[in-house]
């Protein structure tokens, strides 16, 4: 199948071509999903947010302007959806939910190779990973919403300062100061506990 560029794909989505929409979802689904998952905590909430994002992408495809990178445009919609969902739920609850989920099903479960020793190491590794992840989840919950959102986009997809500014409708200087502030809160939270 021909590889369409993002913008060509959006033209086809706007023209109502469902296969083009499916291709777009395959291309961006995983990245949108991880941002939503980390911002909202639960996989079910993340799936719902991504569905809503894609729904708005589909119904608003005609308002898409090629001056925008498709990814930036999608992140604008996704952050609009997620930030509103974050309003309803305090950060404390978000990390508590993600903490109990990760504790119940450690993702290092299949990491063990053969032998008792390597299984033991794998267990320690997995425990360490989970421990660090919980620390980070907890630390992220302390970062104010707007900064947390920018950190998520920056690290999930490597968005540049100007892409972040555009995705969130703010100035580049604000992006820089928000990221710096977010990281210093993170650092303090990780080291201070």
């Amino acid at each position: 199948m021909t590889e369409f560029s993002d913008r060509a794909l959006m033209r086809r989505v706007a023209a109502g071509e469902e296969p083009a929409f499916t291709t777009l979802v395959d291309r961006y689904g995983p990245r949108l999903f991880v941002v939503a998952r980390r911002l909202l905590g639960s996989p079910a909430d993340a799936e719902d947010a991504v569905q809503r994002t894609l729904l708005r992408c589909l119904t608003g495809a005609r308002s898409y302007r090629p001056a925008w990178a498709v990814s930036t445009w999608l992140y604008r919609i996704l952050t609009n959806v997620c930030i509103d969902q974050m309003r309803r739920r305090g950060p404390a609850e978000a990390w508590r939910r993600s903490a109990s989920r990760d504790g119940a099903a450690p993702d290092g479960r299949q990491a063990g190779g053969g032998g008792r020793r390597s299984r033991a190491i794998a267990r320690i590794d997995a425990a360490d990973r989970i421990h660090r992840r919980l620390d980070l989840d907890r630390a992220l919950a302390r970062v104010p919403r707007e900064a947390r959102l920018l950190l998520a986009l920056r690290y999930a997809d490597g968005l540049s300062y100007s892409e972040l500014a555009r995705a969130r409708g703010i100035s580049i200087n604000t992006v820089k100061s928000q990221l710096a502030r977010g990281k210093s809160i993170l650092r303090a939270a990780l080291e201070g506990e």
């Binding site: 991880v34 941002v35 894609l54 509103d84 920056r154 703010i170 080291e191």
Partner: protein, 247 residues
Amino acid sequence: MTTHDDRSLDLLLVAHFRPAVAPADLASGVLTRARSDAARARDLMRRLHVEATPHGIARVDLGKGAPGTSGSNASARRLADQGWEELRQYFEGRRTFFDVPVDLDATPEFQRRVLTTAVTIPYGEARTYSWVADHAGNPRAVRAAGTALGRNPVPFIVPCHRVLRTGGGLGGYYFGLPMKEWLLDLERHTPILEGSATTRIVCRLGCSASPRIRPENRVVFAAVEDARSVGYRPCRVCRPGRTTGVA
């Protein structure tokens, strides 16, 4: 205790935000949802009737009589048209409060108190029947409050769908429980604050002073303080943050 220099924090964050496997049937789920949402909004507007007096909206109904608007004179008809348009925006998730006045003069006194109490329940939130009875000035009249809400002549605008049973049960609804559930879900997923990336002003969703924000300039905020922290100022007309979401 570990120290986190810039590089180790970066690595930690990159690992934290690495792409996850998206649910398999994402695209088809969205396509199905798009069809049903559009059908629902179209269906509602085909059945909606709004009636006004010169003082405000006196009746909103679905499916009885011809759809459209009616009023006894020109100013009543203007109000009815305004109510119709605001309801359309509300159903489409583009409005979270109503500017149009309501006329409850024809309703009995207790019912009027119950309905004006219900109006104070913010968009996206819910209260119980006993809360309404209490705030309407008669804590023991819980059942009567329920009946008064059930006979609400201006549903949606007076949000009787935001009243639930103690313990979280849906209670009743004149248009049926699926409709009540749909409205609560709509409100749960409609943002209440939106800003314009060009003017850097943040408004309540549906503010009459903000010209329609173009989709590419629309930025949602969770709180007025969040918007301020990234350089937006609150609109002076709809004054977000100072009201509870009530017209």
